[in-house]
């Protein structure tokens, strides 16, 4: 009998956990719907959103640009090592550009964005809640979701594709530095093969779509975690950690789903 009771207790705990997660997901979805419907202020008074683009986007530039440069340089080194075995070292430009534009640009920029900007958004909103700034706004008849959350959400959604594009551009430059300047791959072949092989719709547009989706996912998680954080030091710290972990996993999982949808059927979408 004690075994049955223990098993039942475990099952109950599992059930309670699942219910609570499903409930939270539903709450987060309703929050997103409410946020989108109350985005009028953020779009009408666009300077509020511009300020958030500065905090989430411009202040993330250093980490994005430096990371992009190194990722591109490593790609060129690794790619050259493999390609030259098949006598295809002139295709280095194609390898670097496609890897970055289709995959590494949106994904790595998304992960960096989650840890640099996402955590900051969660911490800021969580602390505003803990210090009653959001309640004060409510009492002043100002909707905190419209005034505080929506500008941060749209600021993040707009910043993310721009950061991913800059990451890819910097990565290609890094690949050029290592491949052409350091190793000595022909510059003409490097650029012309890249130009011929990279397709605007199938590669670049799909990469941009990915970065927009990641931007929405990361910023949604960040603003929700901040808004939902218990108003204590521990609550805000846990929410910040959850933002980084959840949004990083979301970026990787969404990347798989999007890649499966976009690049099936002979490598390119039909």
């Amino acid at each position: 009998m004690p075994i049955v009771a223990a098993l039942r207790q475990q099952l109950e705990r599992l059930g309670a956990n699942v219910t609570s997660h499903v409930w939270r997901l539903g709450f987060a979805s309703r929050f997103l719907a409410y946020l989108v419907m109350h985005s009028g202020t953020a779009l009408r008074r666009f300077h509020l959103t511009i300020a958030e683009i500065y905090f989430a986007g411009v202040l993330s530039l250093i980490v994005i640009l430096v990371s992009g440069l190194f990722v591109g340089m490593v790609l060129a080194l690794q790619g050259y090592d493999t390609l030259q075995r098949f006598g295809a070292s002139e295709s280095l430009g194609v390898l670097v550009a496609l890897s970055l534009v289709r995959e590494l640009g949106p994904v790595v920029a998304g992960l960096l964005f989650a840890s640099r900007a996402g955590s900051a958004i969660t911490a800021e909103i969580g602390l505003m809640k803990a210090t009653e700034q959001l309640s004060a706004m409510e009492m002043m008849a100002v909707d905190p979701v419209a005034r505080v959350v929506a500008p941060r959400f749209w600021g993040g959604v707009i910043s993310m594709p721009l950061l991913a594009a800059l990451f890819s551009a910097m990565g290609i430059f890094g690949g050029y530095l290592v491949g052409v300047q350091l190793i000595g791959v022909d510059a003409g072949a490097f650029w012309s093969q890249m130009q011929a092989a990279v397709d605007l719709r199938d590669d670049i547009v799909n990469g941009v779509i990915k970065s927009i989706v990641f931007g929405i996912a990361v910023t949604w998680i960040a603003v929700f975690e901040g808004y939902d954080a218990p108003p204590t030091a521990e609550g805000v710290s846990r929410a910040t950690t959850r933002t980084v972990v959840t949004s990083s996993l979301a970026v990787l999982a969404l990347d798989f789903v999007l890649t499966a949808l976009m690049f099936t059927g002979g490598g390119h979408a039909q």
Partner: protein
């Protein structure tokens, strides 16, 4: 003709968990133009009552009529319309830390009225002058003392010339000078704006010097009410213990615990 009360609470009860109500059968009527204190121990439900008056919580039973409107019947727009006529001072000010003193006071004006910059500036300086901090307009909240932050928050809460001003523990953590300043401001602003003020506090001696009428709460109920003189001379044991700060009375010094000897396992010896 006598004016109707600005806040009328009738038979209000409230609880997060129905088995453990935070408020029970609360009745109060607050006359226009008065400064009223809601006093009692921490955790007695007075801040919850304040939130019911602001419409942040809806009563589980009874009605709350504020500025002539039943809060339970108001939709979000109606609630916001009512809140535009009220100001609230939070315990620690709740200033927006990313905005300067000037921008904090300008915040409600910018949100609710499209004023030309020059008029906005004049209004903000007027409010800051009223709390004596016109010279601090350029400072950031992190540069202010606790008392100054409370005064800036007060200037912000009166920015829209409210009819009703609510104070949530306005005296907590203030030095004697800041305390004197806040007491003076509560009375001056109330009278000069023709407003009504409700002060929720446990700093009873200090508050009794500024209020016109007091509601005394314990365990979610109003247990006594009257003028400050009546409260000071109250024979109600809890009020007497609270007003005179006695360590023993209806509220015991010791939290409920098992027998001391049994806890130390002395009985066996």
């Amino acid at each position: 003709m006598q004016q109707s009360p600005i806040v009328e609470i009738r038979n209000v009860s409230f609880g997060y968990d129905p088995a453990r109500p935070v408020l029970r059968d609360i009745d109060l009527a607050i006359a226009r133009g008065s400064v009223v204190g809601i006093m009692g121990q921490s955790g007695c439900g007075k801040t919850t009552l304040l939130r019911i008056i602001m419409g942040a919580y809806l009563p589980s039973g009874g009605t709350a009529r504020v500025l002539g409107e039943l809060t339970g019947k108001l939709d979000r727009e109606g609630l916001y319309r009512m809140r535009r006529k009220t100001g609230m001072l939070f315990q620690f000010g709740a200033l927006f830390t990313d905005l300067s003193v000037y921008d904090n006071v300008a915040f409600p004006l910018r949100e609710h009225a499209e004023l030309p910059d020059e008029l906005l500036r004049d209004l903000v300086l007027l409010k800051l002058q009223a709390v004596g901090l016109r010279g601090a307009a350029h400072l950031m909240p992190a540069e202010l003392s606790g008392g100054m932050a409370r005064r800036v928050a007060l200037a912000r809460s009166i920015a829209l010339d409210p009819q009703l001003i609510l104070y949530d523990e306005p005296f907590t953590g203030l030095d004697p000078i800041s305390f004197g300043v806040i007491v003076r401001l509560i009375r001056e602003l109330n009278d000069s704006l023709g407003a009504t003020s409700i002060i929720v506090t446990h700093d009873v001696q200090e508050a009794l010097g500024v209020v016109d009428y007091v509601y005394f709460m314990a365990a979610g109920r109003v247990i006594a009410q009257g003028t400050p003189e009546e409260i000071r001379s109250s024979a109600e044991p809890f009020v007497n213990q609270f007003v005179n700060g006695k360590s023993e009375g209806p509220v015991p010094f010791h939290y409920a615990a098992p027998e001391y000897g049994a806890d130390l396992e002395l009985a066996a010896a």
